[in-house]
Amino acid sequence: MADYPQNIESKITGGNNEMSSNVRRKPGIPYVYIIKKTITFIVVLFSALTVNFILPRLLPGNPAEVVYSTLVREGATSISPAYLHQLEVEYGISNAPILVQYFHYLVALFHGNLGVSLSYFPEPVSSILLTALPWTLYLVVTATVISFFMGNRLGRYAGLNRNARKDVIIDITTLFFQSFPAFVLGFILLLIFSVELPLFPIGEAYGRSVTPGLNFPFIVSVIYHSILPLLTIILTSLGGWVIGLRNNIIPSLNSDFIKFSRSLGFRKSQINRIAYRNALLPNLTGFAMSLGFSVTGVLLEEEIFSYPGIGLYMITAIDSLDYPLIQGIFLLVIIAVLVANFIVDILYGILDPRIRQEVG
C-alpha cells in the first residue's frame, strides 16, 4: 500500500501530455530519426566549411596577399617573396578551378591543417586552438551546468510561490543580471571584487607560483581564478532558466492531471514534484541552445579576465587581422556547437519519443 501513490504518480507523469494520444511509442533505438539528424548535421557542417572557404575569396586580392602584406607591414623579417607563393599553396590559391581549390581546402582541413597564425607567427593555428580550447570548454561547461541546476531550482521555487514577494524578487533579480552583456558584468565584478576589494585575482587562469599539472595547488589556483568568470556567465544566464521553469510550472499546476492527482489526495510535495518534472522538459530541450549563449558570453569575457581561452585569441586575431586564426576559431566554435547539439538531439530522440515525431 505504501508504494501505491508513487505508482500512480509515474503513470500520470508518463501520460500527461495532450500529444501522447496520437503518438505511437516505438520502443528501441529510433534509426530513422538518427539517420535524418545525421544527414542534417553533415549538410550543415559542409555549409559552414563552405562559407569559411568562400568569404576570403570575396576579398579584393586574395587572402595570401592580404596576409603577406600584413606580415610585411608588421616587419616580420623572415619573410621573402617566396613565402607569398608558399602561402598561396597553403591557402590552395591557384588558377585551378574553384572546385579543385575547394577539394584541396577540405583535404587540408581533414588533416587538421588550419594554416599558420600571423600574430603568433610561425605557430600553426591548430596548436594555438588546442592550447586555448580546454580553458574555454571548462568555463562553458561548468557555467552552463551550474546555471541549469540553480536556475531550475530557483524557477521552481518562484513558480510554486507565484506572485508572492519571493517570486517577484527572484524573477526581477535574475532578469536584471541577464540584461548585462557578459563582458560588462565581467568588468563590473572585476572592478568590485578584484580592484576595490582585492578578494579575487585580476585575471589569468592560474597563479604564477604554481606549476601546471595534476597537483593540488594548481587545481585550487585554477578554481580560484575561475570564480569570477564563472559567476559572470552563471548570473547572465540564470534568468532564462528561472523564467522558463516558472512560466511552465504555473500552467502545469492548473492542468487536469494535477487536479486529478489532488483529488486522489496526493501530498503537496508529491504534486509539486509532478508539476516540476513536466515543467522541466521544455527547459531540457533548451539546454543545447543555451550552450551557444554561454559560448558567446565566455568568448567575450575572456579578454576582460585575461583568461587564456579562445576568446582572448579571438580579440588578438581581429586586432591584427590574423585571418588564419579567425577562420580557425570560426570553424572550431561552429563544429563544437554543432557536435554538442547533434549528441544532445540523439539523446533526446532516444529518451523522449515525442521529439522524434515533432522533428519529423
Binding site: V44, L59, F183, N247, L291, L299
Partner: protein, 307 residues
Amino acid sequence: MSMEATVGSKIKKQSLFDAISAFTHSTTIRLLLGNRKSKIGLVILIAYIFIGIFGGLLSPYSPTAYEFAANLPPSLAHPLGTTAYGQDVFSQILTGIGPTLAVGFLTGIIATGISVLAGLSAGFSSEGVSSAINAVTNVFLVIPGIVIIMLFGAFFLGDHTSLGYIAMIAILSLTGWAWGARTLRSQALSTAKNDFITSSLLIGEKRLSIIFRQIIRAMLPIIVSNFFFTAIYGVMGLTFVEYLGVGNLLEVNLGTTLYWAINNQAYITGEWWWIMPPSILISLLMFTFVLINFGVDEISNPSLRKY
C-alpha cells in the same frame, strides 16, 4: 455639399475616437498598463525615446571634440567627467542613446519580420519546404551569432571598411531571427488546429487570407514579445560588434563609448564615470524591454495573469 462634408468628417472623427477608445480599453493595453512591471518598463522606454530623439540637441558639448583635459572626474561643467581623450562623457551619452535605440528597434523589426515569414511558411507549406526551413532555423538557433559577427567584421576590416549601422543591423537580424521563428512556427501549427480555422477553410476562405487575417492576429502577442526579445539582441549585438572592434568606432553610440573605455582599461584604472554610465544605460535599456515583456507574456499566456 458642405453639410455632407461636415457630417462625413464628424463620422470620421467619431470612428477615430471609437478606435482610440477601443484601443485604450482593449485587453492588450489594459493588461500592459495594469501590470506594474510593464508599466514601469513603458515609462522608462518613453524616457529613452525622448533622449534618443532630443539628446543630440540637449548635449552641452560636441560628443567627439577632444577639447578638454583628459580624465576629469565628474563636476558641474562635466556631469560625467571626461574621457582619456578629453571628450565630454555626458554629451557622448546623450548623443549615443539615439543610435543605440535605433539599432535595437530596427534589428527587432527586421528580425521579427524574418521570423514571422519563416515561422508561418514553415507552419503552412509542404512537408519538404517546411523541414528545410526548420533545418535552417535550427542551425541559426545553435550557432553563436558572435562568431558570424567576428568573421564578417574581420573581412570588412580587411577591406578597409568597418561594419556601419546598415551592415550591423543586417548581420544582427541574420543571426537573431531563429529563436522567434521556432516559437512562431509551433504557435502557428497549434493555432491552425483550431476549429475556427477549419470552419473558415470549409466556408471557402483563401489560405493567405486565413493566415493574415486570423492566424497572425491570434499570434500578435507572441510577435510583439518576439520583437522585444530581438530588440534586446540588437542592443546586445551592437555592444558585441563594437567591443570586438569591428564596428564604426568613430560614431557615437553607447557601444563605442564602452569600447573606448574598455580599450583604455578604465575598469582597472578607476575612471568609473567613463565606463559605468554606458554600461548601466545599455543594461537598463535591455531590462526595460524585459519588463515590458512581462506584461506581453501575460497577454499571450493567460494562466500567468494575477486574479
